[in-house]
Amino acid sequence: MEKKYLKIFKEFGPSGDEENISNYLKELMKSFADKCYNDVLGNLICVKKSNSKNARNIMLAAHMDQIGFIVTHIDKKGYLRFHSVGGHYPYNQVTQRVIFKNGIKGMICYDNEECLPKLKIDNLYVDIGAKNKEAAEKHIKIGDRFVWDTEPFEQFGNLCSMALDDRIGCLILILLAERLKAAKHNIYYVFTVQEEVGVRGAKTSAFAIEPDLGIALDVTGSDDAPGNQTKCSVSCAMGKGTGIKIMDSGIIVPKQIVDWEISLAEKHKIPYQREVLTGGATDSFAIHLTKKGILASTLSVPTRHVHSSSEICSIADVEATVKLLKVICESEKLPV
């Protein structure tokens, strides 16, 4: 994978502090869009108008925020207490290396052995090696956010990163924008903010755009790891094609859209899987309940170890998702 694409997975951007990733995505998108702007909440909206007379408005949403942490307290010795920004499993955090926007690094530790059986975020702290509170406060303020410090890499045709959720959706939109020469419809590429804390960016951007069709690009689970490690059940597995969402906890995708997406995938021989997920939702949750209701769906990339510091997906599934999305945007008639 080209370096410029890998960089998408490295840019800092926990919910509410998406400035860096937004600037980078704008850089990648600006030559493919008529205009790019950030709205009040910070959503990056890139618009590409179509020349077609019958053009409709399609909103494609991928969230650019990643899960992270927020500093709530700096103690006298210079250790940091924190809370989650987005959904975190406490056990995934023990001994993780973390990094702040300003480059300060630290390591997550737990209070003592007794707290391990029922570990909570409250039992964890970050050691940045500061001498004391005053030394820490020179670099860190209450409210500062931080994320895991891991590098993305490619191996066996798979991609591994702490932020596949949902930079993989952002990458899909970038690849689509590069390949989509003459779209039949006006495409709103929306890189949303604050998805991980409750699909908030999608809510306000969908209100402003009021599209005819909304499609979210996001990760879903992968039902192929040993043991029953995921709390929710999912009907997809990594490497078997793009996930066409039928239902999750936020949306029941209208049948005419599911049928249409499947018929396009079959016609163009794009590998796909029918996706039913029992826990979790994506930006389509907010989009489809906007104003008087908007037809919306989600295309998913099956991903192992979602919300861990090493999420893994298959690059072939990403490719399949881009292909299906391209066919959708090139369709003369929408089922709307």
């Binding site: 919910s15 509410g16 920004v85 402003a208």
Partner: protein, 341 residues
């Protein structure tokens, strides 16, 4: 302001039953605003035109308090209740209460110690298991209907620099909004949205942005949790009373825009107003639905630290209250200087 807050604290108004609070506020502000209206949820919306009417600020505070509602009347005249808003069941038993429109005095009762089996004494309290005794002979003579609200009979009082009372969440916000509206002339126009039904899911806040024009940002005024003990243990605290109003960076329904955070802190520093941050990320306020309404609106939540919030008696600091009023007023006065980009 203290007198007005004491009156507001002593008045009764839970979600869906805000009339007494609303009527009191109308009486207080009607001569100081250009228009007043009540929406379908029961929120009260006041508009006060400022020197510059091109900029309007949405001020908000919720009128409702946490309370109980009668959902069962036994044949023997004992009442069963549910909560309207979030209560820790343990704080409810053995308190004096007032029931229904006639404010019938009663008490939340538990079986006496002697009548409990040993294991019964150790059992956790649930709201379902509590009864209210109003001294009625039986069901037919109790003069209470299902759906009547039940309030704690707490009377607010001042003790040194502290106020003790109920419903500071969020009558402090209401009291400060009244203060702002009583200013002779404001540099910008303000809508003061006294929200209904916050405690049952920030519902007043969900409708607050609609039917309003030229909004620049929202300032939501609240009461919030204080926990001084965690400061002693040097762990993640929430807020501490006596250290100024608390600015929310993140809670369960908002992540505050960093531009507005920097801006309000600069104002506080310039005016030498003490402030702190709310450091727990739990709880949500009307600022949440407000900042994601329509195309989005920058929103700022400033809250007064209250010890023992959501209980029959909470404690607040009067210097905190004054600082919060000063900061809220300064934010309105300087509204023209706020830039989102």
């Amino acid at each position: 302001m203290i007198k007005r807050l004491i009156k507001l604290s002593n008045a009764y108004g839970a979600a869906g039953d805000e009339k007494e609070i609303r009527d009191f506020i109308i009486k207080e502000i009607k001569n100081n605003v250009d228009s007043l209206k009540i929406d379908h949820l029961g929120s009260l919306i006041a508009f006060k035109k400022g020197t510059n009417d091109k900029i309007r600020v949405l001020l908000s505070a919720h009128m409702d308090e946490v309370a109980l509602i009668v959902d069962k009347i036994d044949d023997n005249g004992l009442l069963g209740v549910s909560s309207v808003g979030g209560f820790l069941p343990k704080v409810i038993p053995a308190k004096k209460v007032l029931v229904g429109k006639d404010r019938l005095p009663g008490a939340v009762v538990l079986k006496s110690l002697h009548l409990m089996r040993p294991e019964e004494r150790e059992m956790p309290v649930s709201i379902r298991g509590l009864n209210i005794d109003i001294g009625a002979k039986d069901k037919s003579s109790c003069n209470v209907s299902i759906g009547d609200y039940v309030y704690f009979a707490t009377k607010a009082r001042q003790q040194g620099n502290y106020l003790f009372g109920k419903a500071f969440d969020d009558r402090v916000g209401c009291a400060i909004l009244c203060e702002i509206l009583k200013e002779k002339k404001l540099p910008v126009s303000v809508y003061a949205h006294f929200c209904a039904q916050e405690e049952v899911g920030t519902r007043g806040g969900q409708t607050a942005v609609f039917n309003k024009e030229r909004l620049k940002f929202n300032l939501n005024l609240e009461g919030t949790t204080a926990n001084d003990r965690d400061f002693i243990n040097d762990l993640s605290p929430t807020t501490e009373i006596g250290k100024g109003p608390a600015i929310t960076i993140m809670d369960s329904n908002i992540i505050t825009n960093t531009k507005i955070l920097d801006w309000v802190q600069a104002i506080a520093k310039e005016k030498k107003i003490p402030y702190q941050f709310k450091r727990s990320v739990v709880g949500g306020t009307d600022a949440g639905p407000i900042y994601t309404s329509k195309e989005g609106l920058p929103a700022l939540n400033i809250a007064l630290p209250c010890r023992y919030i959501h209980s029959p008696v909470a404690i607040i600091s009067i210097p905190d209250l004054n600082a919060m009023r000063d900061l809220a007023l300064a934010v309105v006065v300087k509204a023209e200087s706020f830039k989102i980009k």
